[in-house]
């Protein structure tokens, strides 16, 4: 006869409510772990998905995911000239916030190096990859933009031609993929009036300078659009992604690129580590501490619940001792109830979590490793939390059953 199960069946309502409570608490612990994994996954997603061997970024910066990085677009051609480099692609990454149907929408804009990269490798769940080098975009489902929707960004409108799933930026914003040219247009969108004023200002500066006065044609050139002026530099991109030839190690190419004094170079793994040590590190530690605190709180609450359940049974425990029940049978009952509380609570946490976590604004990723780890922790706190109840049960004297 299993006394633990009999007692639970007798007080099923109370046990059910208690386990739901413990389950909700464990769900939060589980969720914290999932949020932590989600942040890491989101942060490293682009690095992992881009499959680049090397990242060339602005000198002395940690790359476009950690801070602002600006390199000239023609860096791609310099990189391609390095022995051992198979491909070099432009990379543009920035975040914008606009309004859609009266609500703010944050978009992490990624530029694809057209025509080398049209987004075929992206995990498309609907639609297609980019087919034109302008005015098309692939949006993540999290952005809530349906296929065919046209959204105005800057001076142009872009049509959603493909939908991805779980493509999230390091800040938790849904990713949208454009060609590099479109991504730069969106990034450097300047109102017409500002363009006119800048052109006017350049013209005035030219006319006031000695060179302008001596060569009036120069002032006319200064009045042109920026990309029509040879003396102005090319447009700036965030980074250049490099893939090396088979048989060449990324380290050997990186050693060459590291000699360039205007840029810094990182391997994919290095970029990933920088991400985790930089923007993610504090969040990771904060969530880790919350996890530890919540686990301790869950343990304390479980211990109090089991202690209370034991207190309610003290008379029955005294009676069992009086009729000669060995301690192991009584303690086994408390321990089994503790384990049942933990196991059922864990199951509830998992089932509720599966339904609730997908509704969270940021991704909550439950990995097998984390779930196993939490299961082990729950087993340990179940055993530890029963200690208080067991201690009380051991101290009960059989003659307490006589007190009525």
């Amino acid at each position: 006869m299993n006394l633990a199960v009999k007692d639970i069946r007798h007080n099923f309502g109370r046990f059910a409510l208690t386990t739901v409570g413990v389950g909700m608490l464990l769900m939060i612990v589980m969720g914290m772990s999932g949020i932590y994994r989600g942040i890491i996954e989101d942060a490293t997603l682009l690095v992992d998905e881009s499959n680049a061997d090397l990242w060339i970024v602005q000198r002395n910066t940690r790359g476009p995911f950690a801070e602002v990085s600006r390199v000239p677009a023609n860096l791609v051609h310099r990189a391609l000239a390095v022995p051992g480099v198979e491909t070099a692609r432009e990379f543009v990454y920035h975040t914008i916030q606009r309004e859609r149907e009266g609500k703010p929408i944050r978009i992490a804009v990624v530029g694809l190096s057209w025509p080398t990269d049209k987004g075929e490798s992206l995990p498309l769940v609907a639609g297609r990859a980019l087919a034109r080098n302008h005015f098309e975009m692939i949006a993540d489902r999290r952005l809530g933009l349906p296929l065919g929707e046209r959204i105005r960004l800057g001076k142009e409108s872009y049509t959603v031609v493909g939908i991805t799933e779980n493509m999230i930026g390091s800040a938790g914003d849904g990713l949208a993929f454009f060609t590099v040219a479109d991504a730069l247009d969106i990034q450097f969108d300047i109102p017409g009036e500002a363009v006119r004023l800048e052109r006017q200002a350049r013209f005035v500066r030219g006319t006031l300078s000695d060179l302008g006065r001596k060569q009036p044609a120069l002032t006319e050139t200064a009045f042109k659009l920026p990309w029509e002026i040879p003396s102005l530099g090319p447009r700036q991109i965030s980074a250049v992604m490099v893939n090396v030839l088979p048989g060449t190690t990324p380290q050997s190419v990186a050693a060459v690129l590291a000699g360039w004094s205007d840029v810094s170079v990182y391997t994919a793994e290095g970029q990933r580590e920088l991400l985790l040590l930089g923007p993610v590190e504090k969040v990771r530690r904060q969530i880790g501490l919350f996890r530890v605190l919540l686990t301790i709180i869950a343990g304390i609450i479980m211990a109090l619940i089991l202690y209370t359940l034991t207190l309610d049974k003290l008379h029955d425990i005294a009676l069992l001792k009086l009729i000669g029940a060995p301690n192991r049978r009584i303690l086994g009952m408390i321990l089994q109830q503790a384990l049942l509380l933990g196991v059922v609570g864990y199951g509830i946490a998992f089932l509720i979590g599966l339904r609730i976590f997908p509704r969270f604004p940021r991704r909550v990723i439950l990995t097998d490793g984390d779930l196993m780890q939490l299961a082990a922790i729950v087993l340990v706190i179940s055993v530890l939390s029963s200690v208080l109840g067991i201690w009380k049960a051991i101290r009960v004297e059989p003659n307490e059953a006589l007190s009525g």
């Binding site: 006869m1 006394l3 009999k6 007692d7 069946r9 007798h10 007080n11 008379h315 029955d316 009676l319 069992l320 001792k321 009086l322 009729i323 000669g324 029940a325 060995p326 049978r329 004297e397 059989p398 003659n399 059953a401 006589l402 009525g404």
Partner: protein
């Protein structure tokens, strides 16, 4: 080494506290209770009845004196000569003022648990428990929860539990206090029937003087001292077991 006595005590004394706070709850109690004998223990509150009951029930060790159960020396002063819990499990049954059934077990499981803790298998313990419930006339309520049973039915289940391991002695602490007169008498008569049919010694602490005719022997306790009741002495003159009773020493 069964000498026909369910329980024997020699010079049983219990002292609580020490020095100025010393209280003698039981003084030099010597009693012999035969198998099959039904004994009533009367006395006012604080007279030492419960102390006696818990001492012979191996719950509360005496300060001095000896306790023999089934002829076997179990307690020598405060020192237990064997593992009291397992001894209690095998040789002693308890019945209380309230039925003291475990609320989360059914009637039959309340009886079964006493057998299972004595290493009976689940099926054998269920069979034996059902036999006992049938014997006590509550088998039709076997699967009911204690809360759904009447006071008398609960007390019968408690008696069945006490009898489960065929104990040498049943110790009952005011078992009829929560019952009306008719049910109380039924329970007392049940004890008598059990004692005589199964050879179990029964000690009943009671305040109920209406059913004293059920008992073979009546003792009274006052200020920790036990003596054979005058009522009992008068009653046993015509008793067919008079000779036996003369051997039952009461000091």
């Amino acid at each position: 080494m069964d000498n026909g006595y369910a329980i024997e005590t020699e010079g049983l004394t219990k002292i609580y506290g020490s020095g100025n706070t010393e209280v003698v709850a039981m003084r030099d109690v010597t009693v012999k209770i035969r198998r099959g004998e039904v004994v009533a223990l009367l006395g006012p509150s604080g007279s030492g009845k419960s102390t006696f009951l818990t001492a012979v029930g191996l719950i509360n060790p005496p300060s001095a004196g000896r306790i023999l159960i089934g002829g076997e020396l179990v307690m020598d002063g405060p020192k237990a000569l064997m593992e009291t819990r397992s001894f209690r499990r095998r040789y002693i049954g308890f019945v209380f003022q309230k039925s003291n059934l475990i609320p989360f077990l059914s009637a039959i499981e309340n009886v079964q648990i006493a057998l299972e803790v004595n290493n009976w298998s689940a099926s054998a313990s269920r069979r034996r428990a059902m036999e006992l419930l049938e014997y006590l006339g509550v088998s039709d309520r076997a699967d009911q929860s204690p809360a759904t049973l009447s006071g008398g039915q609960q007390q019968r289940v408690a008696v069945a539990r006490a009898l489960a391991n065929q104990p040498s002695i049943i110790l009952a602490d005011e078992p009829t206090a929560a019952l009306d007169g008719r049910l109380g008498r039924q329970v007392m008569e049940l004890f008598r029937k059990l004692a005589h049919e199964q050879g179990t010694g029964v000690v009943v602490v009671t305040h109920d003087h209406r059913a004293l005719d059920v008992f073979d022997t009546v003792y009274e306790m006052e200020d920790g001292v036990i003596r054979r009741s005058e009522t009992d002495a008068m009653r046993t003159i015509s008793s067919p077991v008079e000779d036996d009773q003369k051997e039952r020493g009461a000091t």
